[in-house]
Symmetry: C2
Subunit: 148 residues, 2 copies
DNA sequence: TTGTTATTGAAAATGATTATCATTGCCAAT
DNA sequence: ATTGGCAATGATAATCATTTTCAATAACAA
């Protein structure tokens, strides 16, 4: 059944429901590659759909993150940020964060080499500390073109 | 003038003052290798020195971080954490964080290889995005022995 | 010793996130 | 197509970490 919406199938039949707010929030996340905070998402949606509450945004984002549909970012600016989680290997990336203005740049360089190192490290750490690793995070901090 | 305290010289003569609260906070940070939150540091100090306020803890930690004496950690548990910043190359490490109980493990494995990759990436990113990189952060998330 | 001013601590303010709870509406079963 | 159970919602209040304010204090250069 094509045209049902890209994500609906991930909600049906799991005790979860496909609702208008969730669809709207996913649309807003799809609309840009920016890393949006709950408040930003709320503001954007609120302009044309004032019915959706900030609480729902928070809850939905948390759920989508747990489902692996989106990715939660904690740069240090006082609010959490989210971006859509691509499914392809080429979508995997990390971030360059300006400590002055908060600008975030996605970078995709050396990801292969990085993945190799990550795998090796993961393996060693899993064995050494009896730890199951599910995820990793790499970020560079510095000053962007405008701020330095 | 030896025995003046390990850090005093970093405060004198820079418009900064060497005070009892600062010394106490640095002592508390030295007392353990744990990654302590402001509140935890406050509680520990408060037991034997109830005069030092939580506000001062916050301000001092921020200052020490800016001075490069300590390192700020933002794992996702709702509060910032700090650890002493070692000066030797061997002190450089990253973290393994349990998403269930919040346990943090320092690891020092593959740091050399990592540094090589980091340098290469930094170089490329600096050129490509005209960005000055000052710092980086790497962490693995997963489940610790007890939680999995 | 003294004047300047960085530092401090108590209290209040801020601001993001979470909890509560009555209401709504999705959807599987009929 | 209807409906009953319960997941989801939204308004509101509560939490809780961090920041701001401001008057009092104390480090330290002169
Ligand atoms: Mn990104
Ligand atoms: Mn550490
Ligand atoms: Zn910038
Ligand atoms: Zn654990």
């Amino acid at each position: 059944m094509p045209g049902k919406g890209k994500w609906q199938n991930r909600f049906s039949g799991h005790g979860r429901r496909w609702t208008m707010p969730r669809e709207t929030i996913l649309q807003q996340l799809s609309r840009t590659k920016k890393h949006q905070s709950p408040k930003e998402i709320f503001s954007a949606i609120n302009k044309f759909n004032p019915g959706i509450g900030l609480t729902t945004i928070y809850r939905t984002l948390e759920l989508l993150d747990k489902m692996g549909v989106i990715h939660k970012l904690r740069i240090g600016d006082g609010q959490v940020r989210y971006e859509l989680q691509g499914k392809e290997k080429e979508d995997h990336h990390h971030h360059l964060i300006c400590t002055s203005c908060g600008k975030i740049i996605d970078y995709f360089d050396f990801i292969d080499e990085e993945m190799e190192l990550i795998k090796k490290t993961e393996k060693a750490l899993t064995k050494k500390h009896n730890f199951v690793i599910n995820n990793h995070n790499i970020e560079f901090y510095g000053l962007c073109e405008k701020c330095r």
